[in-house]
Symmetry: C2
Amino acid sequence: MARRSQAERSDATTGQLTTAARRLFGTEGYATTSIDAVAAAAGVTKGAAYHHFKGKADLFRAVFVREQEEVAAELERVALAAPDSWTALRHGVRAFLERCTDPAFRQIVLLDGPAVLGWDGVREIEYDHILRVLTMGMRAAAADGRLADGDLPIRAQMIFGALCEAGMLLARSGDPAAALLAVEAEAEDLLSAFALAQTR
Amino acid sequence: MARRSQAERSDATTGQLTTAARRLFGTEGYATTSIDAVAAAAGVTKGAAYHHFKGKADLFRAVFVREQEEVAAELERVALAAPDSWTALRHGVRAFLERCTDPAFRQIVLLDGPAVLGWDGVREIEYDHILRVLTMGMRAAAADGRLADGDLPIRAQMIFGALCEAGMLLARSGDPAAALLAVEAEAEDLLSAFALAQTR
DNA sequence: TTGACGGCCATACCCGGGGTATGTAACTTC
DNA sequence: GAAGTTACATACCCCGGGTATGGCCGTCAA
């Protein structure tokens, strides 16, 4: 192996570890995957893992954060490409639901995340990524007069919960394409809940 | 101890075990509570636990099911006491949110449940309890012309996801009473998403 | 250039806890 | 009341998370 700097070695190892962890956590689940298995899949030993991460939960956290970053980036990209704030929301919803097609994403973000990191833990991370993008999108729609006033953070959080459940639902469906349409229709109705015409 | 039948002994022991497990799982979380600790709190040993349950997950499942049964029963009671289908829905929502005030309920049903039993596992159980009651309530509201047509199971599932997130949210709030009002307002708007006046 | 220092990682080990095998006392059945 | 079954307790296995220690190599100052 050619001469490598310490930083290069570190980055390479952490990258191998998080990639392997993402694969194993996503397929086998958090509880049933061992640190040894992750390290072996990454081509290193447990010592390397415990050098870069405080423990198993910390490794999982790194995977979880990277997952959130990628989804948030894609959602932001989709939103920016949309002609107006309302279609930005709709396209974002569709992008999130399609992301839920990935079993590893569901296992890590939707199933194991809350149990491993606690609700405060996932909340803290999501608020800087997925929830941030969603809240911004809803704020823009509200500014455009497409959404009524109200508590936007609470509203975004509840919409997010509904979308997560919808993502699990269509993943279980025998006909994902048809389910996607049905779910999207319901999701649009949900967002329409806050359409301006509605009065309390 | 007086002479007891086998069935009485069994019922007493399983009751002690599930009660102790409910307390420990609810306070310490599933991963950090040991079978030994549960058995000790129940006044028996690990052998008794493994005699009545196939394993740790099975014990958790029993606790989870009982929790669902209790909530479903209360929701049904609240719904039946309501004058019409719409207020039945609203009172049910309130009852569920208040149940989320219990940290043990949140830990067991909302956080650990999906990770331990898998999504299919919780789905199967919830569909016979909370989701069943919610779907029935929405079906009644639809029959009364308070909800538009659509895919009711999907709709109920998504509403349920939103309510779970709302429950976690108001539990974290510094002022639960005020948060309850805000969350209830948003939840009503969500249900209004499917009000008959809405057209797609 | 070199030598000391520190970061990177492997090896060896501890130990808590899920799961199992076996023994024993109490209940049930005939 | 003897045989068989149920309801546990006890002792044990072993996987796996976490830690301690040592060695290799890049880094940096003199």
